[in-house]
Symmetry: C2
Subunit: 571 residues, 2 copies
Amino acid sequence: MDYRPDAGDARFLLEQVLDAPTRLRALAPFAEVDADLMGQVLDEAAKFVGAEIAPLNAVGDAIGAHFEAGTVTMPPGFADAYKAFREAGWPSLACAPEDGGQGLPWVLEGVLYEWLTGANHGWTMAPGLLHGAYECLKHHGSEALKARYLGRIASGEWLATMCLTEPQAGSDLGLVRTQAVPQADGSHRLSGTKIFISGGEHDLTDNIVHLVLAREPGAPLGPKGLSLFITSKFLDGGVRNAIVCERIEEKMGLHGSPTCVLRFEDATAWRVGEPGRGLSAMFVMMNAARLHVALQGVGLLDAAWQKAHAYAQERLQMRAPGAARSAAEADPIIRHPAVQRILDTERGWIDGLRVLAYHTGLELDAARHHADAGRRQSAQRWCSLVTPVLKALCTEQGAGGASRLLQVFGGHGYVREWGIEQHVRDARITLIYEGTNEIQAIDLLVRKVLPDGGAGIQALLQELAQDVDALADHGADTAARLQDACRLTQELVRASRARAALPFEAADDYLRAIGLALMGWAWHRIARAPGAAQGRWTGPRHALDLRVLPEYAMRAGIIRTQCSAAGAQAA
Amino acid sequence: MDYRPDAGDARFLLEQVLDAPTRLRALAPFAEVDADLMGQVLDEAAKFVGAEIAPLNAVGDAIGAHFEAGTVTMPPGFADAYKAFREAGWPSLACAPEDGGQGLPWVLEGVLYEWLTGANHGWTMAPGLLHGAYECLKHHGSEALKARYLGRIASGEWLATMCLTEPQAGSDLGLVRTQAVPQADGSHRLSGTKIFISGGEHDLTDNIVHLVLAREPGAPLGPKGLSLFITSKFLDGGVRNAIVCERIEEKMGLHGSPTCVLRFEDATAWRVGEPGRGLSAMFVMMNAARLHVALQGVGLLDAAWQKAHAYAQERLQMRAPGAARSAAEADPIIRHPAVQRILDTERGWIDGLRVLAYHTGLELDAARHHADAGRRQSAQRWCSLVTPVLKALCTEQGAGGASRLLQVFGGHGYVREWGIEQHVRDARITLIYEGTNEIQAIDLLVRKVLPDGGAGIQALLQELAQDVDALADHGADTAARLQDACRLTQELVRASRARAALPFEAADDYLRAIGLALMGWAWHRIARAPGAAQGRWTGPRHALDLRVLPEYAMRAGIIRTQCSAAGAQAA
């Protein structure tokens, strides 16, 4: 079965749980965005994704992108689907009206890309970097570069890539060696090899734009010597630029997305922003990019869940415990506790992670557009602290949860025809790209929590604890967990003074603990919403309380053991 | 890099940790098996597996088994490797001397197949069912059937399959429909379709033997109507039997093993054992088969670990925290805590799981061959209770741990050339076949723990607690965990009386809790062995204590929450 986005669920979470229309209308550019408009956009998006993109998922995997003599042919149907996507205006959904965009909030684009990924991860990689390139160029590009590229990126007429990784430089971009030699006309000549370039070559658009990290002659070693450049497959007048696609990778999954090795052979390029400021120019869009990856995890998990749920309703095996005797030899496996447990637990993850990710999307919109500087700052704090948590939490669950949902199919889950094993293979990359989950954990603890002595995250956690209704069901537990996470942060801050390596050793557990504390809050929000006390929300909520949230105490215990050891070592 | 079995590790665990030579020499058939002989067998096995089988792993995945017009061609090199395997006498390692076997203990065969799987899971599927077919036929076959088949199965001249699953009958074999109609000459005619038949067709041997579950006319519905039959691709005189390979499955992994759909069109077959006793004839070898699958998980995890460990020593990225300043721009990633944590934790799992699995293999040998009936019974108790735990624990860790080890490679782990993603894809099936892990959990709790009110498992856990040296490092914790698992069992037994569905709801958590309690004991045994207090064992042991064993308390807490709810509901 193909993935079918559920616009009703998204509307419920955005409107009833997160009060999105009110929050968005408070931002000047979105004064016209009410529940009706949001609902229309979501309904249309769900329809488009389900009808045009989802049916191409299996063929994208089975046939894949094809490389021959420097060119890449995309799987059958991908180009037509992209044409339809572009003509319907989806690429420019969240671009500014002055650039030809529709000026809608980021959060709606986030939901759109979550659904696209659930429907067809491989296809979605192609337009997936458009908006990042748009933001990067809009904020840092010269007027000349904007005139050449911005409108075409906003409209999706030309697709875009990010060229960061090199064979010797992955997580450590400071090791990048690609050279950019300035020319008399203000352009640069790029030379070097970039790897893992998603959509580095394809036949979806007439031209392909590349944003490339490189080093000018004489620039210092390390990250501070890096600048950002823009270039494209074709230059003005249709002249072919000296950019060669050497090959595409054979991968575990994501076969619908060509992962290219690109060789720049004195390719003509232009610098975007100041010299030596390449990383910061790129990182302007980092939170949005990471949140997109988090939502990919959610989309893939939901796609796997839909398949497993449908299968469990139809597959008959054994009598369920306590089932009423009937003429049937066997019951649908959804009535077996072992299967129900998997479905409810993963559903609990999906719903809770959506609340956190959509809330973060709304904060991203507030950080950009709120009139009040203090409110912008608190929104920015949320995005900065929570985005790495979500990137790791959602992708870990996307891949791990999809694998658990595969289990519902028994042996049938392992064969291609049911489609669930493709989700597991596709999802695995999300734990790695856009910064590995281990890098996310270090980003959270070492770069964001420790520098202010934990003040920022403690303030955030306290605000959530105050948002909790202690009298509601599980309210006291939820608040207590958030407050314990504050204390845990303090203990970790202190112990890190005794052992410099501790933050690196405890980072993964800390990220996970914070994530679980946030999940408790998210489900508390859901449970308070009208209508969520019964029906389809009760099973997942019970599963989350019973089986997921207890991990918080385990992680906190592991961190405290490490803090004690660090203290004892120092004493 | 190809997998290289480490005979030194196996010898250390068997000799120093588990006292295997003494235990085996106490069994009459193994009176000659001393440490030297075991060492020689292990050294030879390691050499053979590393030289002949491991190098074919990547080609088996990339090219895979090929189906055309009813026949299957195995990947290049597979047939020669099988010929070498057979000529070296490996198939008959643990077969009885009177059947042409070498009469060595099961535990050595277990280690051999662990290594074979780590080296090449796909190839290993081919001989993987030989020994099970041998045991089944030896115990239940008539003299005529033994004369026809037993020696050729023991020697591996003919390979063997198990034909259980049908489209409508997976976990629920009671739904099997294949018919076996008796003939005047004492044979039967088989008709029906079997799916998921590993090695149902191939070009490795001249003939293929099938053990088939089927139903005679008039047999009762459900599992009690099933009988076991033996048949083969060719009958006496080279006559082709009416068995058609319809197709092979396209799977997530394990491409080197053809997973066949077999259609029986009035195929000539003979019943093995009594009518209606098909399942029990097959289940005679169930513990051994499940332990083999557990060891597959361990082998795959070790193969993934070897790759990740080698990569982490060579890959340079970023400065490690606290690293001495040097001219190098970056340190090997093995010096980064985030990477070390993954390597140490998975190593801790591998070593601990090996102790448990090898100990279980030794108990399997004792259950078969010990002179003392009481000792045979206690060995049987161990195998019966611990085998389902290990099947689930080892395979969960095999697939999940391989995926975590993939993370060490960053983006390189996602591309084919490093080989680690193949292990993740291959390993995924082990959570499903030979009874899904959910079925293992139900087998443990519902079929084995509850029927005697928990007495058997409590006795087993108490004996382990008494084996623990409370004065040794972590000894008190290890004993306390085992004793808590006893109390937990009692609580679950009581609460299950109040809520009949509870055992099915709590089974997975219970299996996991028992598994973790056993892991604590296993590492306690390792730590007590000479030389294991330092060197390569310390990092994994620390990781296990810090990060793995705390899950016990979490699982116990989840179970207790369920027990309380069941009690409250009943009250």
